[in-house]
Symmetry: C2
Subunit: 337 residues, 2 copies
């Protein structure tokens, strides 16, 4: 992993009132800001994402093209690169790392863009999943600065069922006595495996499993996929980081702040940016029915459902090339002006 | 719980070749067999069901009416009443209780009906969830004996995604070190809680949670429901029983026997019974798309989707009165001749 940079935020007072000490955002840029300063595209990261995994959403010859756009990819707090339970010094280490909200993330991203990178306007904010949630957040938190948003497979306010399914994922980890509320001496391997195994049921659609699309990912059987997800969670993820980001996700709500006072219709109505909201037809986390309601409150938004059997993970990596064509078409429309 | 009886099967050679010692089926009957012996209706039980919870599917003045029908409700192996890990003597106790299949259940139910109750024909076999799976099983295993089947929210062969989501539920329990492969000295309370918490995400639809239908069940918040499910699993369910029945469910396949040799189209094609297959539109375990395929192989079947936001649990207890009206209409049609 090369080319990324770190922006030192100093001590940051979070929405909760807690001060996060010596906070930092890790980010990477591609292309350059033009003289008019009107070609910046922001892509926040997703749950198990980082700036490298965001590279699937742009490239030479694509709708978002570093040859024409100044692409900024910023890592979410808790993703192990930006300030996280795993990389923060005591007394804010591990389970003592304070909760961060999407509002906190976006406020800090705003500082990075304006103080460090000289970005005054964002031509587009787009992202997958928790990256989509941050796109909505940007639209409501800095409505005067964002020309367009393209959230895919995400929501402006985390839906009750989404919270419930994530409770199940958390419970699987917590069932492991080694977890010990995050203060573990022995890594909660069984809990991390269970976490991955529960998650895999939500990530793809019922039809996807029936039609054996896991073969396209190199797995012979569903069990092979489950074992791979177990290993991924044990080998690559710090459990306190996983927990921290789940809280960010579960608390997602663009209206949970002084500006909107919990009025989600008001917050959605304040998103002036031109928007294409793109749920996936079989997404079990963010079903299109939820997006329909959110779009109905947005003054300048279009709902565009991506029809797929891949469920939430249609947009992960290069899983489904058809998704990238569909996405590029929408991004090109929003970037056309 | 009164009125139920026990049928002693003696030693039963299971499909696996293992002998289950001193096996027994617990059942209850309602009404009486008529002289022509053509009014028997069989209702096998569901995953966390028993014959008492089956009483929601019939009653005086309903389509299935003990005043006219001889209703037989038989408990599934592993449900704590019929032979189960929790009530079987060593050396077949707890995790050593041998796997039983739907084929084993139906073979033993057949003995109970013919040897003990004098039933020669079944006018209808119906059930919810694993009860639906057994209805399909009856249709394929004893095609000459069954006039009609009405499986609701179930399948003839457990779908890959269904297996995967149940793997997640199992993993949540296994993450608790106290579980110890079923040989526990301390009850795996954390694992049982996690089991219930993961399960709750699958049981109702996304829209059901969004529209707050949990209030109809007496819960103020989704978290109240999750806590209730935790308690239910800790207080009411033996973890080895839960595990045993999950295996039965996951291995569900009406073609997994010598008669059909794994050819599911052949097995479905052999179901001569008149059938109404009734998935729920938002069922996350048994989506209607899966039922469409199964029905396409059945010579005498109609697909009838119940439109609901209640997901799989539309048919649990008295959750949704509209379901019972829809169900009764179909049952009345099948029982009309």
């Amino acid at each position: 992993m090369t080319g990324h940079r770190t922006f030192a935020l100093g001590d940051v007072t979070l929405q909760s009132g807690t001060v996060l000490k010596d906070a930092q955002l890790v980010y990477q840029t591609y292309g350059s800001l033009n003289e008019a300063s009107d070609n910046a595209v922001l892509i926040p990261t997703f749950y198990t994402g980082d700036h490298v995994r965001n590279e699937f959403y742009f490239g030479p010859g694509r709708a978002i093209d570093p040859g024409r756009h100044f692409v900024v990819s910023i890592n979410l707090f808790g993703n192990r690169l930006s300030s996280s339970p795993s990389n923060t010094a005591a007394p804010q280490d591990g389970p003592r790392f304070p909760h961060t909200s999407f509002h906190d993330n976006v406020a800090c991203q705003h500082r990075l863009l304006t103080e460090e990178l000289g970005v005054k306007r964002l031509k587009l904010v787009t992202g997958w999943s928790m990256g989509a949630c941050q796109s909505f957040q940007w639209g409501a938190q800095f409505p005067g600065m964002v020309d367009a948003i393209l959230p895919f497979c995400g929501s402006a306010k985390t839906a009750p069922h989404n919270i419930v399914f994530l409770e199940g994922v958390k419970a699987a980890l917590c069932a492991d006595q080694n977890w010990n509320g995050g203060d573990y001496s022995t890594k909660p391997v069984a809990g991390l495996k269970a976490f991955g195994r529960v998650y895999a049921g939500w990530a793809f659609s019922q039809t996807w499993y029936r039609e054996r699309h896991y073969r396209a990912l190199g797995f012979e059987t569903p069990e092979d996929l489950l074992v791979d997800w177990e290993h991924d969670h044990v080998d690559n993820w710090d459990p306190n980081n996983l927990f921290h980001k789940l809280h960010t996700w579960q608390a997602g709500d663009i209206s949970a702040n002084e500006t909107y006072g919990g009025d989600i219709a008001k917050a959605l109505g304040a998103i002036k940016a031109k928007a294409i909201v793109m749920p996936a037809s079989t997404d079990l986390y963010f079903p299109p029915e939820d997006s329909v309601i959110e779009v109905s409150h947005m003054p300048n938004a279009e709902l565009r459902v991506f029809d797929t059997v891949w469920g939430h993970c249609c947009a992960s990596g290069n899983n489904e090339p058809a998704f990238h064509r569909f996405f590029d078409e929408a991004a090109a429309e929003l970037l056309a002006d």
